[in-house]
């Protein structure tokens, strides 16, 4: 038998999330068995009963931190991981469940549960990078599986992964789409949203809703007049930023600016 270099250990960990980003790995139907030849899948509860002990060469982390127990667990994961890659909006910005950060979580628990005292939860949903050092981030709700494969193959071949940080607009132009905002007056977050999806929404004749979170540089103030010109109210704009990356700072600031203006308007009326 030819001697073979020991294959690197890959682990997948889940925190508060919908499971969609780790499912992206299982959705690589053509590559999955090849990948399983290139790495040892050491811990991936959604797919396997097998758990190998750490340390792990590459850890993929899905989900946000919402419980005291998970705040501890992510430290253990970090300690066991050589390279830690966060995957998806929950892990990189706190996800849709971060809507609680700006409200009263006890009130939320009362809406959902008859006995909220059974529920152990933190007042906030926070990204992994608020708790431990993160080596690479993959954006998106969900992540794009081609980006995931690109990052994994870069790491496995010892290259530094390169992930484009420009806006959806750039990908939209490359795809040859007609601009939905300019041509059809459809409100679109493409100018301020991180690339990665391939400009899907404009390709399907709808405006981008920001599921990849803010691009590296954003001008939400500049976008505001275009959204208003396209017929969006200030309430609409505030809600549009308050979704899957609501706690990402540029999107949070854009919401707050709208909310301040709404309150001023109401104050004048009142």
């Amino acid at each position: 038998m030819p001697t073979r270099k020991k294959r690197p250990k890959l682990a997948v960990f889940k925190f508060a999330s919908c499971d969609g980003c780790q499912l992206s790995l299982l959705d690589c139907e053509d590559e999955l068995l090849l990948l399983a030849d290139a790495v040892r899948i050491a811990s991936f509860a959604e797919a396997s009963s097998r758990v190998l002990r750490g340390p792990y060469d590459i850890s993929l982390v899905e989900g946000s931190i919402t419980t005291p127990h998970d705040a501890e667990r992510i430290r253990e994961v970090r300690a066991q991981s050589r390279v830690l890659v966060t995957i998806g909006a929950c892990a990189t910005s706190g996800g849709v469940q971060a809507l609680r950060n700006f409200r009263d979580v006890k009130e939320f628990a009362r809406v959902v549960y008859a006995r909220p005292e059974y529920i152990d939860t933190l007042a906030t949903s926070t990204p992994i990078a608020d708790h431990v050092k993160v080596d690479y981030e993959l954006r998106g709700c969900p992540i794009d599986k081609r980006q995931l494969l690109a990052v994994l193959s870069a790491l496995l071949s010892g290259r530094t992964p390169s992930i484009a940080s420009h806006s959806v607009c750039m990908q939209c132009k490359l795809r040859g789409n007609v601009c939905v905002m300019v041509a059809h007056g459809t409100p679109c977050l493409g100018p301020v949203t991180h690339a990665g999806c391939g400009a899907l929404c404009p390709t399907y004749h709808r405006g981008c809703y920001g599921c990849f979170g803010p691009a590296e540089t954003t001008n939400t103030g500049g976008l505001e007049w275009a959204l208003v010109a396209a017929g969006a109210s200030q309430e609409d704009i505030a809600r549009t930023y308050a979704t899957f990356n609501t706690a990402a700072p540029p999107f949070r600031r854009a919401q707050e600016e709208q909310l301040v203006q709404i309150r001023l308007k109401e104050g004048r009326r009142g």
């Binding site: 797919a47 809703y209 979704t243």
Partner: protein, 429 residues
């Protein structure tokens, strides 16, 4: 002698759960399917959102069955707004749902459940000895995903679903391009059913109450009455009068019961038992060839029901694509009004019931979502109670594996089950 079977982190299920069975002697003294998936409070933050945003938000409840959430939400909101999608738009929705069933069932049958029957830790280990079956399974799964990606824009959290229809409808050529892979998958699925029918299914039966939608002439996806084999036959508006949800300390998901009776099972085996006569010829013939016919009260065989539903969904997807001509408009128009609407569709794991109250401006005042895994939770625990004496007689490792397999029979989606479940009261009535 006190003995405990304990699984601290259930594998090959979607989401975070654990299992404890305590014995006093040979008798079980406690069975707990503990769900510790952190709650995400969807029903709370849906309040104040515009109705147009709801399909995209609820999709995020579950990465495995986002289409189900989008479909139940759209139907409920359309019910509130007083509109109905018919004809080609309705057919396209069925096509999208077929894609999700094929993908989700394919994942469960080949990657999560089959390894239990053949004695592997996962599909990758299984592929070392049974590579051709894993490859066929991945091909089937991929064919389902291709439908969702073509019609929905991407496999997970599709972007093309809206209240009233779609943002953009596909061209004939875009859908026809899917046909070769779907035809191959259909032939493979028939072979895989015959393969799976030879698995060694543990002898285990229980007198279940099965609950599923039933439609006048179709295998159920988005419409129908809620029926059971114990005499239930109700309109989906009447759901709350007939079902209750109970909160228990050991779970962040609520337990559902039929009022006055108790636990029930929803999902593929329930649909199969209640709707066998609504299957297309291709799926029915395939099931009959392997002598898998209703009534079947062995939930380990839910794997076969999933395979039959894969065949049904592939067959139906092919039929829809052959008959497709793009409609004039991608969606029908709607205007906001104050109303409450109900929607219930068959997610891969079972019935998914939604209710929304909208205000005059079309903002959500109240939302209630009942996902399939919370409905099955009590049923899973009851199965484990009945299984416990068998487990007590088995070596510990084998008993633990068998108990986990019994949980996986339901393809539990724990991420789904925890994130809502509103309940005003804890009651037994």
């Amino acid at each position: 002698m006190a003995r405990t079977i304990k699984v601290d982190y259930l594998a090959r299920v979607e989401g975070e759960g654990a299992l404890t069975i305590r014995f006093k002697g040979d008798k079980p003294s406690a069975v707990e399917l503990r769900i510790f998936e952190p709650p995400r409070f969807f029903e709370a933050f849906l309040r104040g959102r515009a109705y147009q945003e709801v399909p995209d938000i609820v999709a995020r409840i579950c990465g495995i069955c986002p289409v189900a959430y989008q479909m139940s939400a759209c139907h409920a909101i359309e019910d509130a707004l007083g509109i109905r999608t018919d004809g080609t738009l309705r057919a396209l929705r069925r096509l999208l749902y077929c894609g999700e069933w094929i993908e989700s069932h394919g994942l469960h049958v080949f990657m999560l459940h089959a390894p239990d029957f053949l004695g592997y830790e996962d599909a990758i280990a299984m592929a070392k000895d049974h590579r051709e079956w894993v490859v066929r399974g991945l091909g089937i799964k991929k064919a389902g995903n291709a439908i969702v990606a073509a019609l929905g824009g991407r496999e997970i959290h599709p972007i093309n679903v809206k209240v009233g229809g779609f943002y953009r409808v596909p061209t004939r050529a875009e859908l026809s391009a899917l046909l070769p892979a779907l035809e191959t998958a259909l032939g493979d699925a028939e072979m895989c059913l015959a393969w799976a029918a030879r698995f060694d299914f543990p002898a285990f039966e229980r007198d279940y109450e099965y609950v599923a939608l039933r439609h006048a002439d179709e295998y159920p996806f988005c419409e129908g009455r809620i029926v059971s084999n114990k005499g239930l036959d109700i309109d989906l508006h009447a759901y709350e009068e007939h079902f209750a949800e109970l909160q228990v300390p050991h779970s962040t998901a609520l337990h559902s019961v039929v009022r006055g009776r108790g636990d029930y099972q929803c999902g593929p085996l329930a649909r199969f038992n209640l709707n066998f006569d609504r299957l297309g010829e291709r799926a029915r013939d395939a099931a009959e060839r392997v002598e898998f016919v209703p009534p079947c009260h062995n939930t380990y065989k839910s794997l076969l029901a999933r395979m039959v539903e894969i065949i049904q969904a592939l067959d139906e997807a092919i039929r829809i694509i052959h008959g497709y001509a793009p409609p004039d408009a991608p969606a029908i128009a709607a205007a906001p009004r104050r109303a409450t609407g109900y929607g219930c569709t068959e997610a891969p794991r079972g019935m998914l019931w939604h209710k929304y109250t909208l205000d005059e401006a079309g903002l959500v005042e109240d939302a209630r979502i009942v996902p399939p895994t919370s409905q099955n939770q009590k049923c899973i625990e009851q199965d484990l109670w009945q299984l416990a004496p068998t487990l007590a007689a088995m070596p510990h490792a084998a008993a633990t594996r068998r108990a986990e397999q019994a949980v996986r029979n339901f393809d539990p989606c724990i991420s789904c089950s925890t994130h809502f479940l509103r309940l005003a009261i804890e009651r037994e009535d």
